[in-house]
Symmetry: D2
Subunit: 324 residues, 4 copies
C-alpha cells in the first residue's frame, strides 16, 4: 500500500488524524511553549503506535519557531538554548564519556548539507583531551565528529563508515544530524526534530539505506533533523487531492460522477504520482529560493544547541571563546 512518507513525527500524526478523523492510540502527544517557541513531544508507546506512525517506539520532540529569524542573533541564541535543554533531557552523558556527532548528507547539495555544516561549527575537544590533557579545562567533555558523505559519492554505506569509525573511537553516545523532507513548505527551515531511536532506512533527503541506531551500533543514537526541502511526491499528491476534491464538490452527492471520483483509490493515485515525477528523475528537489542563505543560520543554531547540551559545565561565553 502506498503511503506518503514523512520524516517528521508531527506530520505522521497530522496525516493520520486527517485521514482517520480519530484519535491516535499507542501514541502520547504533549505540547508546551517557551515564549514563541512551540515544543511538541510525541511518544510512540507500543507496536500499535509504531504501525500508525511508521516509526519505532521512542520519543520524538519537535521544536517549532513561528518564523526562523536568520537576522536576529538574540532569537537564534534563545532557540539554541531551548534545543540544548531538550537534548540534555534526552541524553544520558557524563564527564567521562565521549560523544560522536555524525553530520549526514551531501555537502555539495545545499539543502542536504546541514549535517556537514553543523559539524564544522561544533566544539570539538576529543583530540585536545588526548594530546594536551593538562592544557584543557577539566570541565570540558570529549566530543568528536565526522561527516561520512552519502552513498552516491562514497560508494560505501554511510552506516558502514560510521561503524568503522565507532570501532576506532568507541564513543558512548552518537548524535546524528540530518536534513529532512517535509510535507509542508512552512515547516521547511523552521522545525527541529529530535528523536531517541536513531535513523531509519529511507529517511533523510538522501534516503539512507541502512539503519543507524543502538541496535546496529551498540551505542545510543540521538537523531536530530531539520526539514530543508519539500517532498516532490507530496506536492504532486496534494495537487491531485485538490483536483479530486474540487470536482467532488461540484458534482451531486451519490451521482455516477461523484461515486467515480470517490472511488479513485490509493493505487491509482500512486500510479499518477509516479507518472508525473518519473520524467523529472529521482533528482528533483523543491526548495525555497533563499536556501543557500539560510543553511548557515540553521547550522549555527543546531551546532550551538549541541554544544550547550554536551558541555553543560561550561557557560556560553566559554564555548564561544573556544570556538573563536
Amino acid at each position: 500500500m502506498f503511503s506518503v512518507r514523512t520524516d517528521l513525527a508531527v506530520e505522521a500524526k497530522e496525516f493520520y488524524e486527517e485521514k482517520n478523523k480519530g484519535k491516535l492510540s499507542g501514541v502520547e502527544v504533549k505540547e508546551t511553549n517557551d515564549g514563541d517557541i512551540k515544543i511538541t513531544s510525541v511518544k510512540i508507546l507500543n507496536d500499535v503506535g509504531e504501525r500508525i506512525m511508521s516509526k519505532p517506539v521512542g520519543t520524538y520532540v519537535t521544536i517549532d519557531v513561528p518564523k526562523l529569524t536568520y537576522y536576529d542573533g538574540e532569537a537564534m541564541d534563545r532557540l539554541s538554548a531551548v534545543l540544548g535543554k531538550t537534548l540534555m533531557k534526552m541524553i544520558k552523558f557524563d564527564d567521562s564519556m565521549t560523544a560522536l556527532v555524525v553530520g549526514l548528507g551531501n555537502w555539495n547539495i545545499t539543502p542536504d548539507s546541514l549535517g556537514p555544516k553543523v559539524i564544522s561549527k561544533l566544539m570539538i575537544t576529543r583530540h585536545l583531551k588526548q594530546l594536551v590533557p593538562d592544557k584543557i579545562d577539566e570541565r570540558i567533555r570529549p566530543v568528536c565528529a565526522i561527516a561520512p558523505g552519502v552513498l552516491g559519492i562514497t560508494g560505501i554505506e554511510t552506516s558502514e563508515i560510521i561503524k568503522g569509525v565507532v570501532n576506532k573511537v568507541k564513543p558512548n553516545l552518537i548524535i546524528c544530524i540530518d536534513a529532512l523532507a517535509s510535507r509542508k513548505l512552512d515547516r521547511v527551515n523552521s522545525t527541529i526534530q529530535i528523536g531517541d531511536t536513531g535513523i531509519s532506512p529511507g529517511s533523510g533527503i538522501g534516503n539512507r539505506r541502512m539503519e543507524i541506531s543502538q541496535k546496529t551500533l551498540n551505542v545510543p543514537v540521538i537523531a536530530l533533523g531539520v526539514p530543508t526541502v519539500v517532498d516532490a511526491a507530496t506536492m504532486a499528491s496534494d495537487t491531485i487531492d485538490m483536483v479530486l476534491s474540487s470536482m467532488i464538490k461540484q458534482s451531486k452527492t451519490g451521482g455516477q460522477f461523484y461515486n467515480m471520483l470517490k472511488s479513485v483509490d490509493r493505487n491509482e493515485k500512486f500510479e499518477m504520482i509516479r507518472e508525473i515525477l518519473e520524467p523529472y528523475g529521482a533528482n528533483l528537489m523543491v526548495t525555497p529560493k533563499e536556501v543557500d542563505m539560510v543553511m548557515d543560520s540553521i547550522s549555527k543554531i543546531v551546532a550551538c544547541g549541541i554544544n550547550i547540551a554536551l558541555q553543560p559545565r561550561l557557560d556560553l561565553e566559554d564555548i564561544n571563546k573556544f570556538l573563536n
Copy 2:
C-alpha cells in the same frame, strides 16, 4: 486568459502545436545539426506570429545538447564554438564598437546566478583599451560587463541600472545573460536560447518587470538564456492535466462524466494552480539536485562562446592566455 508562460520560443511552439494540432502561421522554424548538437531557429515574422508565440517579432535560436557534458572538456569547447558561431551571425559588431554584457539574476540563488557567473569568466578589455592602449593587442575589441542584481536586492529596476550604465559607457551592443524557467526538466541546463529582441517583462527566474531592448535603450540587445529551473506552476499544471486525462480515458465518451471533465476550463484550472502554489509562496523553486555543481560548467560554456563571438580576430589560445 490564463496561459502557461515559457521563456523558450521552442516551448511556446510545442505548446501551441500541442493545443492546436495545427501548423503555426507567422512563424518560420528551421532545424540543423552540428554533430550531436541540434540548432533550432524560430523566426517570428509578423503580428500573427507574435500573438501565437507571446513573443515579439525577431529571431530565436535554440542550441540543444543531448546531454550537457560537465566532465568532458572537449565537448564543452565544441558547444562554446557552436554558440560563438551562432552569436556571431546574429550580431553586427566591428572592431571600433564597444560591447556591454549584462549578467542578470541573483548571485545568492544558485540557479539564478548564471548571469553574474558568466560575467566573471568573460574577456573584459574596455578598461585596458582606455588605460594602456599601447600594451593591448590591436585586434582586441573593447568589452565591458555588469551584474546589476535583482529588484528585491537593489530596490532599483534592473533596467534603470542598465540605463544609467549605458549612459556612461555608450556601448554599441548589449548582450543580456539570464537564467530561465523551462516547462520540461530535460531542457534544464541543456539548452541555450539566443534572441535578438531583448528581454521582455516577466521573463527570467526573477520575473523582470521592465523591458530591456533596443526600444528602451537605443542599442541592439541580444538576449542569451539557459533554463536552470522548472516552473512550479507548470509542474502543477501538468499534474492536473494528467489527472483529468486519466479520468477522461476511464469514462465513456459523451457520458455526463466525460463531458464534465472535458468542460473543466482554463479559468478553473488556473484557480487550482493558484490554490496549490499559494501556500508555498512566490518563493518556490524546482531544481535538479546537482544544480550547485553544474552552474560553473554552463557559465564557462556561455562565457567562452561570447568571448569567441566578440573577439573574432583572436583564436581560442589567445583568449585563454588572456583569461588565465
Copy 3:
C-alpha cells in the same frame, strides 16, 4: 617617497607615532568604551593632519571588538547596535530622503566580498515605496543598493557605474561598504571603520582608481570598511625592519656596521619589498584561514548596523520581520 599605505586611520596614527615618537598635530583623537567594544574617533582637522595621515579632513570612527564573536548572536547584536548608533550620529538623513548603499568589491574573492555580501542582507525598501506605497509602513524610509563589481571584472570604473546609477536614482546619501587591508592580523575581521569623506583612490583590497565622494558625486558619502586581509607589502616591510633592528642591537653603537645598518634608507627598503613581492605578482593575498567562514557573520553585523541607522523609526523586531 615610499610609505606603507594603510586604509585605517588608527593605523596611520600608530604608524606616525611609531616613526616620529611625537604627538600628532592637526588631528584629534578620542577613545570611549561601550562594554568591551572600544570606539576611537580620529578627527583630521586641517591640512597638517591631512599630510600626516595621508587622508582628507574629516571624521574616522573605529569600532574594535576584543575578539569578533562569530558564534555569539547576542554579542553580534550588541556590536550591530553600537555600529548603528555611530552611523546615525554621522549621517544627516530624514524620512523623505533616499539612501543608496554601495557594496564595493569582488564577490568571487572571499575576503573582498564583504560589500556584495552586506548588500544582500540589507532592508531594501525603495521599490516598495514606489510600487506599493499604500502597503508599506509609513515609518519605513526608502533604501536601495548596488554591488557595482570591480574594474577587472566589469571593464568600467566603479565610480562611473555609481555615477550612472546616482543619476537615475538621485539618492540623498550614499554609504559605501568596502573590504580593507590591515597592517596587523589582529585587526583583521575585528575592526569596523566609518568615515565621512568617501573612498580615496588606491584604498580597499581592489585598489579603487577613482574617488567616490561628495566632491565627485554631489551627494554625501559615508565609507564603511572592515579589514579582511593583511597587506603583503606590510608583512614584507615588517620582516625587513625586524632583521635590521635585530642586527643593529647586536652591533656596537657608532661602529661602522651600526652606521651602515642605520643608513639603510626608505628607498632601498622599498626596492627590497618590490623584489620580494614581484615574483608573487599583484595577485597575492594573506588571509586568516577561516576567512570563508567569518565573512557571513561580519556582513550580517554590518548590514544590521546599517539597517538600524537607516530605519530609526523601526525597532529591531520590525526590521527582522521585514528581512525574513
Copy 4:
C-alpha cells in the same frame, strides 16, 4: 636544525642543490616532456637520498604545466590524460581489486578543499557492483571514496578514520589526494605530484600528524598532491635571505660587516621567522586571489586523471556518460 619544509620532491631537490652546489647522491632524476607538459621523476634510492630529501625511499613524479589553463577544456583533458597515464604506471591494480580514494583536507577552507572536491567528481562504482551487479558493465572496476576531514574539525586522527573505513571496505589500493604548500608561488595550482610512499606526518596544508602508508594500513598508498598555497614561513625566510644578501653585496669582502652578515646562522634566522609569524598565528595563509575560482578546474583535472587510471577498460566517453 632548522630546515624549510617542502611537500614537493622537486623543491627538496632544488633546495638541496642551491645550498650545496653539488650533485645529489642516492637520488635519480629524469625529465621528459609531453607537449608543453613537463614530467619530472625523482627516485629516492637509499637512505642517503632519504636524508638529503627528507622523504622516504620511493618514486615521486611531478607533472608541470607552463600555465594551468582553467578556460581551455581541451588542455585540461590533455593534462588529465597525462596524469592518468602516469598514475597507471605507478599502480598495480586489476579488475578484481577495489580502490579507495581518500580526499584529505578541510572542505571549509578553499585552498585546502582539493581532496574533498576531487572526491565528488570521481566515478564511484563499488556500491553499484554490490547492489546491482547485473546492471553494471563488467569492465567497470569497483571504486569508493571518503573525505575524512581534518583533526581540528573531527577530533579524530585522520589516519584513524581511514583505518576504520579500511577495516570495513578492505580495499586493495588507496589513493590519497592532498593540497600542499609550495615554496614558490609559480608552482601553486600548476604542479601535480604523485608519490608511491603515502603521506608523511607534517605534510599537507593541515599538517597531518600521523603516517598514512602501506606500513600503517597494509595496503599500497599512492599520494597525489597539488600545491595550492605558499608557505608563509618560506616567504619570510626568502625575505630575510634577500635582505642579508643585498647588504653583503654592499659591504667589502672580508670586512667586519661582511663577516658579521655571513655569520648570521640558521638558528638566528629561524628565531626571526618565528618572531615575524607568531603574531599572525598558525592561522596564516598566502594564496593567489583567484583561489576560489581555480579549485574547481584543478579538482576536475585530478578527478578525471584518476578516473582514467582506475577504469582503463573504459574510454573517456563511457566515463563521462557515467558521471553525467
